[in-house]
Amino acid sequence: MVLGLILCDDSNMPTALIVDDHAAFRASVRTLLQDEGFQVVGEAEDGRSGLELARALDPDLVLLDVALPDLSGLDVAAGLAGGRSKVVLVSSRRPEDFGARFREAPVLGFIAKDELSGPALSDLLEESL
């Protein structure tokens, strides 16, 4: 389900989309991203609406939970592969809790949810430049 959508765009700020099924986490991340200078243009609580929103909004960053109620976050990442958006996977689990598909996912990187912070995100984004 598409939960939030900002159509007006402040063109100077990088845009972000949050795809996660936990409302409290989305709220916290929204604050964190805004503090980091992102404009959060949308939120989705499942994989299908995440894909739909990402294609419609073409955000600079997609913060994507690995475990979603319908599709896997890895399926969503595969659907977005080749696009402009940078995808960062997040999860409350550790990388070793996932199999080979996770390691081969076409994403910028992974941040454990409890370690998610402005600097952690900046480091990952800078690495990609």
Binding site: A24, A27, S28, G99, D114
Partner: protein
């Protein structure tokens, strides 16, 4: 009834003598003593076989039918008499006699014509033959000899003179229609009967029906000869003896069938002795031999289930298909067992009854055995359910931890981190320090919850399967582990059991073994998933002593598998679980 049979037997024997004399005195060069006596002996064999069958199985109509066939075949010979009354009456009876024989052959072994087409054939045979013979007698005036008769004229009581040629033509038509066409139909129906019979019934029917086919073929040849002006005498001689041989074979085959049933009943005596030393699972085979039915199944009645089970205690339904018949064996009004057998055994109710009585005690024992097996099977199924339910519960707890407390703590940590960031103006360093400490504590709590959830049931096992879960497990083990895991998914309880074997084994190695390295291997072979964990530690582990290993053994055995620990002192430890997997 016994008197009637004796009278018929005596009358038949006397009639045989008369039939012989009628042939010799009336057919002249058209017969010989050998041929005349062969015909009488063939008919007598029918008579005797019929009387024997009648006395053995009074309720079965086959005995009276065979007796009637024997008498009719003897009466047939009286048609050769030059007396007008005898000729007229027995010309009709004589031709009908072959249909009595066919009737008996098709009615074997029950004595009844159960098939619609067979009934139609026999009825048509009787009716068409009757009207043809009447027609022949109406036109026969002695001016032209009839087929199979000598040249001397006979007086038909219903004759219209001046139509001798028509009589011969009608007789030809009769031979073509009745012996030729109906003969072919009869053979086709016999072949059909053999093809459609169950294997056991086919073995019983085959000799009789093959003899019947031989008779039928002889009739068809006769029909073909109506188109030949003068068939060779030698050929006719051969065909005569062919016919005699087939007519002798028919009652002999019937007697053999009867004898076979008697021999089988005698074999029931051996069954009693055989069953004394037979284990419960061998009873079916012993009964199958005694009843000569390889398809026999024995099912046991379990009152507490209100249903049947097989010898292994597995629930079984009584079949309701046409080619299986069920005989229920009872003791004091209570069912013990059901024999699911070939329907041909219904023709030998005494055999089934005798075998059932002989096997009653053994069957009662086997029933108790099956009952125990059924209870064990219930326990086994219950153990599988316990393991499966426990796994599902563990998965649910893992999801609850992940989706509930873990997510809330993570969100809280993020919010505190945001708050911390907004307060980073240095106005109150104590608040800043407190917030940092709280976030750290929260991270520790999240990590502990993660470990707890992983230990309860790793999500990777559900999502990516055993090989990925083992890879994750090995990567967290604090010493080198060589992993060789079979790829591919298996039923959830199999994967979970194999995972927990490896997990517990590695945990034991860390705690007790003092090992420097280990090997974890999973292989699929012969319908089993074999999971093996080996270390180079101090050994000396005993499954019975460690509750962890004992629990693993219980878990593996609950799924019908085997678990063993090889752990010689100072020789390392090898733990092997063999878990049946459906694919």
């Amino acid at each position: 009834m016994k008197t009637l049979r004796l009278v018929l037997l005596a009358a038949g024997l006397a009639l045989g003598v008369i039939a012989y004399r009628v042939q010799i005195h009336n057919l002249g060069v058209f017969t010989t003593p050998a041929r005349a006596s062969a015909i009488v002996i063939g008919a007598w064999l029918f008579l005797v076989a019929g009387i024997v069958a009648w006395s053995r199985r009074p309720a079965n109509r086959l005995g009276p039918l065979m007796t009637a066939a024997g008498i009719a075949l003897l009466l047939r010979q009286l048609r050769y008499s030059h007396d007008g009354v005898l000729f007229t009456v027995f010309f009709i009876v004589g031709e009908l006699s072959y249909w009595v024989v066919a009737h008996a052959a098709f009615a074997y072994p029950s004595g009844r014509l159960t098939d619609r087409l067979e009934r139609l054939l026999i009825k048509s045979g009787y009716t068409i033959t009757f009207f043809f013979t009447i027609a022949i007698l109406i036109f026969y005036d002695g001016s032209r000899p009839l087929r199979f008769f000598d040249r001397a004229p006979r007086g038909s009581l219903i004759s219209i003179s001046g139509h001798g040629e028509v009589a011969v033509t009608v007789q030809k038509a009769f031979v073509i229609v009745v012996w030729g066409i109906l003969g072919v139909v009869a053979i086709a129906l016999i072949v059909r009967k053999l093809v459609r019979a169950t294997p056991r019934a086919r073995r019983i029917l085959a000799p009789l029906l093959i003899a019947a086919i031989t008779v039928g073929l002889r009739a068809i040849f006769e029909s073909v000869f109506t188109f030949v002006e003068r068939p060779s005498a030698i050929l006719y001689e051969y065909l005569f003896w062919w016919q005699i041989a087939a007519f002798i074979a028919l009652p002999v085959a019937l007697l053999a069938g009867l004898l076979r049933a008697r021999l089988a009943r005698a074999g029931v005596g051996d069954l009693v002795l055989e069953l004394e030393g037979t284990p419960p699972q061998g009873i079916r085979d012993a009964l199958s031999r005694a009843l000569d039915d390889p398809t026999l199944e024995v099912l046991f009645w379990l009152p507490e289930r209100n249903g049947f089970v097989d010898a292994a205690g597995r629930g079984a339904e009584l079949p309701s298909v046409d080619n299986r018949t069920i005989t229920t064996l009872e003791n004091a009004g209570e069912p013990i067992a059901a024999l699911v057998h070939d329907p041909s055994l219904l023709e030998e109710p005494k055999l089934v009854e005798a075998a059932g009585a002989a096997a009653r005690l053994a069957l009662e024992n086997a029933r108790l055995h099956a009952q125990t097996r059924a209870q064990l099977e219930q326990v086994r199924e219950s153990r599988v359910r316990i393991v499966t339910t426990a796994d599902e519960e563990r998965r649910r707890i893992e999801r609850d931890i992940h989706d509930g407390a873990q997510q809330r703590l993570v969100a809280l940590a993020l919010q505190l981190r945001s708050a911390q960031r907004r307060l980073m103006d240095g106005s109150d360093p104590e608040v800043d320090r407190l917030l940092a400490a709280t976030v750290n504590e929260l991270q520790v709590a999240v990590e502990e919850l993660r470990e707890l959830a992983r230990g309860v049931h790793p999500a990777i096992l559900t999502e990516d399967g055993l090989a990925a879960a083992l890879e994750s497990l090995v990567s967290r083990t604090p010493f080198p582990v060589d992993l060789d895991a079979a790829e591919g998914r298996l039923p959830a309880q199999v994967e979970a059991t194999a995972y927990f074997v490896a997990c517990e084994a590695l945990a034991n190695i860390v705690k007790h073994a003092g090992a420097s390295s280990a090997i974890v291997r999973t292989v699929r072979q012969n319908g089993l998933l074999v999971v093996e964990v080996e270390d180079d530690g101090i050994g000396g582990a005993i499954a019975a002593n460690g509750s962890g290993l004992r629990g693993l053994a219980d878990r593996v055995e609950a799924l019908g598998g085997r678990f063993r620990v090889e752990s010689p002192v100072n020789g390392g430890t090898r733990i092997v679980g063999e878990i049946p997997c459906a694919s």
